[in-house]
């Protein structure tokens, strides 16, 4: 498949040398007097129009050394720091010429995401702040408790304010007498939120928080005459095993998953992955973590690019300043930057490959991001089965999956993201939400309609997590994909067409221009991604894939709220927009402290690109769109009204969306999966405590179902016989 070629594949991640070359190019642009802060240096993906001809040649096996290739480019995002102002600059560097190809400065109030290093500045600013010390003086902490602060993005500014770039912090205490740096501070929230000016690095304000119950109003409590004693009844919220005050289970016997003959996948150094009939490339980006490119099955393209785009987490507590708890975990932080270094035998079981990546330090030098993606195979039960009830012969195959997994930590919270490929041509996109729910103080004995008391003194606020997945489809072609909305519609009894009332109509509507589409399970509404010209040779229908989305609640915040204005994407389950190079951000590129979604999916709809030969007639004629190809955005989420069981660390909440072939193949693509009996399985007898007997062939089961196995000779049945002597 891969051509022996000294040049990197156009989708290969930047090498260390390339990152350094990009950095040097930028440094040269600026004088020695400019102080630069590098945020990201990563592959600038080729324009689709340039990459597609290359991919087509690649899949046709026609690549040569002289095949034209898209220029190799780096995207470098950095700040120029001056005492009074920070300019955020986005550049594209041509790596061959070591030249800046394009450069622009972000608008006045468009702020890039925070880097992990900037989080530390916040705590330093608090320590140095008289305002902060004054606020803290209102509280008395138990002996040996130390203060610890989780920096957060500021959320959306109120309409009345016009702040420069701010950062806020949630303040906690930790019991240092435990002498364990992993003692959980989230069990001890302190009811203030300091706000820092990000340029001056000064605390400009400390907001006091309400700590009352359901009927205590929205205002913070009045300042007490003497320091309020905190944590009088709070309980430890430990989760690291050595600090637990309950014994660990000792009766969970190990499950080992082994592949004695090795794994069935191949990882190439340039990010190309091969597993079974699947082939795709992984590019790790600072914002999206693992992005899948050029996903093909038996060399037929299915998805040009598959990625998570955004995740907003708005909180439902109306008491100011809690309304500013609305994070955009991709745009404000970055999932790649927050990706965990995964561990063998913990995050994945079996035979695992770990992928590393490279992220820049603030000075632009590459640093290793080790084991940020894991790849492995797993068994997921039965894939298909049929038992012939006449002979009792069963044929069963196992549902083997290939998993691309990465995990991000965003202060208190964890997300486990996975792309799963199966043997039947399906792709599943999975999220698992876990970690520690965000909590605030609540006065003893009180309860709140804004959340749940999950431990004494601890209110876990109601909130939502709304995920967006971006699918740039390429259904059996890089250029000819169409999107169709399909519904199964009930029909009334009609003597001519539906005499008994059991008929239902499968209705199709092609999406000819950008729009949103809400989930409607009552109509079995599904989106189909189809090749607009190629027909399935069996069914005569367009070859395609079905898009199956969990039907979940969308953003509940009021339409007029700043929360909704910043996350229009989160108001509908599916969006179809027109492809343009580099548009990966459902809520816009700059979500950090945004007041509204800018150049997000809602704007892409408004500009009215179209997918047919000519712009469709209708009310959108005034739009300035252009002919394009459709990109699909799948939105799903979790309205999380916390349970007591979510404390101190929550069990995973799992969501899955699926791409499944629908007339893409000419028969079940998993028909050739062997129905091999697994020899390592053993019997557990009755009445033992798990003592497994050695694997033995089971007795031939006595069947209560054994049929007669009778067939009727066609002629005996009355039929004549064709193609034979008796015809």
């Amino acid at each position: 498949m891969t051509v022996s070629n000294t040049l990197p594949h156009p989708l290969a991640p930047l090498s260390e040398a390339e990152i350094l070359r990009a950095r040097d190019t930028i440094l040269k642009q600026h004088g020695a007097s400019d102080s630069l802060y590098f945020r990201c240096i990563y592959l600038n993906e080729p324009a689709k129009a340039e990459l597609v001809p290359f991919l087509e040649l690649e899949h046709a096996g026609k690549l040569t050394e002289s095949t034209p290739r898209p220029p190799r480019q780096a995207r470098v995002e950095y700040d120029v720091l001056t005492p009074s102002k920070h300019h955020h600059i986005r550049t594209v560097v041509d790596l061959k010429a070591s030249q800046v190809v394009s450069s622009d400065t972000a608008a006045q109030k468009a702020y890039p995401s925070y880097s992990p290093e900037e989080f530390n500045d916040f705590q330093d600013a608090c320590v140095a702040s008289e305002l902060f010390q004054k606020a803290m003086s209102e509280f008395a902490l138990p002996e040996n408790f130390k203060v610890i602060i989780d920096p957060w993005p500021y959320g959306g500014p109120d309409d009345a304010e016009d702040p420069d770039r701010y950062m806020q912090g949630l303040v906690f205490a930790v019991d240092s007498s435990k002498k364990n740096p992993d003692s959980n501070h989230y069990g001890y929230p302190i009811p203030i939120i300091p706000v820092m000016d990000w340029v001056s690095k000064k605390i400009v304000r400390v907001d006091r928080l309400a700590t009352g119950g359901a009927e205590d109003g929205l205002e913070p409590e009045a300042k007490a005459a003497s320091p309020k004693k905190l944590f009088q009844n709070n309980a430890p919220a430990e989760y690291v095993p050595e600090l637990l005050d309950i014994p660990l289970r000792n009766d969970l016997k190990p499950i080992n998953i082994t592949q004695p003959e090795g794994a069935s996948f191949t990882v190439h150094p340039d990010g190309l992955i091969e597993w079974q009939k699947w082939r795709f490339r992984i590019v790790f980006t600072p914002r999206e973590a693992a992005v899948l490119h050029d996903v093909t099955y038996e060399n037929r393209p299915i998805v040009y690019r598959l990625s998570y785009s955004e995740l907003t987490v708005p909180y439902g507590d109306p008491r100011p300043p809690f309304h500013r708890k609305q994070a955009f975990d991709f745009g404000d932080g970055g999932i790649g930057r927050a990706a965990n270094n995964l561990e063998l035998g913990c995050d994945c079981l079996g035979a695992i490959h770990y992928m590393d990546s490279i992220l820049p330090s603030p000075d632009g030098t590459p640093t290793a991001a080790k084991s940020v993606v894991c790849l492995h195979e797993q068994d997921n039960g039965i894939l298909w089965k049929h038992t012939n009830f006449r002979t009792n012969r069963a044929v069963v195959t196992r549902n083997r999956e290939f998993v691309v997994q990465f995990i991000a930590t965003l202060a208190n919270y964890e997300y486990i993201f996975a792309y799963k490929f199966d043997l039947a041509g399906g792709i599943t996109v999975e999220t698992r939400a876990t970690g520690i729910v965000s909590v605030v103080s609540i006065d003893e004995g009180k309860t709140s309609k804004y959340g749940n008391v999950v431990a004494p003194g601890i209110l876990a606020q109601n909130h939502q997590h709304i995920f967006a997945v971006r699918i740039d489809p390429a259904i059996d072609s890089y250029t000819d994909t169409q999107v169709v909305v399909e519904e199964s519609i009930s029909k009334k009894i009609d003597p001519k067409t539906n005499p008994y009332g059991n008929y239902y109509e499968v209705q199709r509507q092609q999406v000819d221009k950008p729009r949103w589409i809400d989930a409607e399970p009552r109509l079995n509404r599904v989106l189909k991604l189809e090749n607009s010209t190629k027909k399935n040779s069996i069914s005569g229908k367009n070859v395609g894939y079905k898009f199956i989305l969990p039907s979940t609640q969308m953003l509940v915040a009021d339409d007029d709220s700043v929360h909704a204005r910043r996350a229009r994407y989160a108001q509908h389950n599916m969006w179809v927009t027109g492809y343009r190079d580099g548009e990966f951000w459902v809520a816009g590129e700059f979500t950090n402290q945004s007041r509204k979604e800018t150049d997000g999916v809602d704007d892409m709809v408004r500009r009215g690109d179209w997918f047919t030969d000519e712009a469709p007639n209708g009310q959108d004629q005034e739009s300035k769109g252009k002919k394009s190809t459709p990109v699909l955005w799948g939105i799903f989420g979790l309205t999380h009204n916390p349970r007591v069981e979510d404390w101190p660390v929550m069990p995973v909440e799992i969501h899955q969306m699926h791409l499944r072939p629908a007339d893409f193949f000419t028969f079940n693509p998993a028909l050739d999966v062997p129905s091999t009996k697994n020899a390592a399985s053993v019997l557990v007898p009755c009445c033992s405590n798990g003592e497994a007997s050695k694997a033995t062939e089971q007795d031939k089961p006595l069947s209560h179902l054994q049929g007669s196995g009778k067939e009727i000779d066609a002629q005996a049945a009355g039929a004549s016989v064709t193609n034979g002597k008796t015809e």
Copy 2:
């Protein structure tokens, strides 16, 4: 847990001796002249009022030999055969006294389910039928093709007809030249449906089928002058490996799942299962297969009885007689009777326990149903994780599940049912639909709006599968469960209560009398099963479980159709009804050839039992209900418009519903799960083809996330210190 006791537990399945005693008791009731046909002999479950006191003593550890116990009873269902009529009789036999306690004869047109043995009668009747032979004479089959018939229930009779008990058959041919009894006949449908009178065992009619395309109307084609040549272009639809004309994959390397220290569960001979903190009993019934009883966690009851209740499969092809393709797989057939004999290493991997059951032969003697349920543990990814971003220390636990699985074959089709228990107090009820889709003939080159052409000459008709799960809850008590509908409701901006618009209200409405409730993901509607009196000591809320249902399309058939009248249950996602002993059937006991749902969930709602101290006021005051406790029915399904990929055997379509604790516990019940690193996992290096290296400790990853780890001394931060010297 179990008392040493010579008496069987009240929920222990009947022994062979008990089955024989029940049979003998019935035989004695009848003279030698009566010809009896036994359909089922199984445990007559004790009345709840009698069982609950026993269970309460059992869980309190207070059972003794003299504890009063419910009488041990068998339920015997059998027919009395006379030449002109079959009476279906349902009796309860007291096994101690060997006496019939109750007996009643089913109403005139209430028909029990078919036994597997009766299926064979149908084919014999066809062979003997001149009508059938005449119908077959219209067709010419290729040489060596033999006829094979799948008996089906007759579906719902048309309003215009008043048939006695009928059975219909789908007719296929099989290529006997392959000399393989597992050659797939479903690839060769013959366009007739013979109808048999079930008492006389005579074919009374042979319906001819339409074979046209989208525009060819509803009538069967006119009879041709000479026999129509069938299967001129049909292709083999083989799935058994030795008949495939494509090579099997040889690059799927084995995944072995082993438990070197044995399994973590215990199976007792009377059906009691213990796994981790879970404890429950499995009773296998002819209709429901595995039923779970008395499900407890740490000895606290959660579910009194958990079972699948029904599954209807209506087809959407309006061309008569296809409208009679509507099966009720529990009521017309019986999932226990149709349960597969499961195989080690195929249907389950790892360390597996297989449960056997006993089913009666038509003469009432017990026959073994071997390995009809499998029990095993499996790993399902990460259960919870948190990484302290300051220290980079991660704590991860694995999501171990305990699975109770059974699989039923209903002629062409398979269902894989599973109950899964997890370490965090959750129960998942899962279905996987697989097997061979039901197909009919379609003329060459045509396509249809009634289904999809999945192979030349083969139309897979659009249809639905609508499952019903019955949950008889016992939330921390066998008697005090209440059901609450909870929704998360958007609120407009309001200066006093919601100044920024981010607040949403969690609204609760108690279900005080039977009703249906539709899914409404837009409102995040969930049902909560709660103890009506016990409060969670942390949150102050009622201890409870959340019921999470996939939001799927309900029955699409017209409200006035016989299909909808027979399956009112399938028109709404959730139903809550009043508990009465022995009411297990969502669509009524007798679904076979039913015209309407009788004593099903819709009738249970109409009768108006109530769940509060007094009957609620309102329009239902005239109802004749009584005070009861709520039973929950969860309905979900699959509108299956077949894909070409579903042929010849379809990859699984998976649905899951969940019961998750919601303030049932006082913290995450999986907090005590060890975060043990699995030692059997190995690294797969880059660029190898699956060659796994020996497990080695990974290098300490270079962290790009390492925080400063700084904590601030409380006094340095400005706070005073309580409980300490400085206060």
